[in-house]
Amino acid sequence: MRSSSFASLAVPATLLLGVAAIQAPQHRLTYRVEVLRATGAGRQSLAAGEVSGSVETGLRLSLRSDSTEVEALFAVFSETDTATLTAEFFSRRRVGRSRRGLPLWEQDGYTRIVQVAWGDTARVYPLGPPRRGAQDSIWVDLTVLRRPAGGEVRPAETLSLGTGPFEVALEAVVRPRRGVVVLTLVRGGAVSAPRRYDLIPDGAAKRVQLPVPGRLPRVLDVALSRPETPRSARDRTLALEADAVCLRVAEPDSLAPTGTVCGRLNNVARRLPLSGGDTLIATFAWPGAR
């Protein structure tokens, strides 16, 4: 009795929360970054930039020199007034040379988590905390901001580079909620008109019909999925496959896929041979700007 009355209240409450979430104002997340170096001669800005996008946007930051490489993937988990900033680090340091004269590298991966208020600046020492009395140190000032999106949540990157011993790169990391797939079928010398489909990764399969001039159309079931987790620790840590998707192609009502083609959302055409001598050309792209 008690549980049924609770259930009767829980359903509308869940619906209300869902509606509130849908109607909640969208925010734009911004990572403001400045890479600084202090020496005995003073302070020098090595690079400054900004990465912004929807609240799921991550920041991939890399600093490289001849003997050290530090790469990190920053992500923010929003709370009401604060945010949890997580950073997955992957670093490589050259520790010497092998007996054959080749460089030997030491690599390391670890996670750092801190609580920040919106607008706070977190100081990241990528090479470790500065030693007491050391005049030379390098750090990254990272400010996390959240502002109303105003409908614009496309990722954006800006970076201005100074001079210094480190090569600095910033990159927005966004896992696509949807992906545009442009399909073309090649049969002999005939090519079908390109068909554009808006698919959701890990969503249901869609039946598509690709008409070839003068021939019977080819019917296929296509579904978008996320690629498998990378085997390399670096690729996994830095989410290098974040903007990659896989297209699974199957004959209608077939359980096993005929073929799978994977790629990044970068407008590059990829070919997949099908049974019967046909070739499917798939191009992955980001959905249009909103």
């Binding site: 010497g96 092998s98 390391d108 920040v116 706070d120 100081r123 990241v124 470790g128």
Partner: protein, 113 residues
Amino acid sequence: MDEHTEWLRQIDAESDGELTLVEQAALARHLAGCTHCSGARASHLELRVALAQSAGAPQARLAPRPVIRARTVARWAVFALLAGVVAGWGLHAGWGGPGGGALEDVRAVIVVR
């Protein structure tokens, strides 16, 4: 073996104090009449004097035997240890290794201001 060779051996034994009185007398009689062996004895004794002087004991009655001193051994041991450390350091720098210092000293840290 000629006659002189045997007398030269006797001269050597005499310098080490290993001859009996009878043998010393026989040797003295031979040396009185043999210029070759008396010259060889003089050379032999001069060589022993030179060895004694180089060993720091010119007044010694017998030629000192070479002695390994504790100080010399310690000096060589320290030298070998230092050479090993320097060579090890060079090899470590050249060929790498597991890395020195604490791991956390080279890992990134985040400080919120």
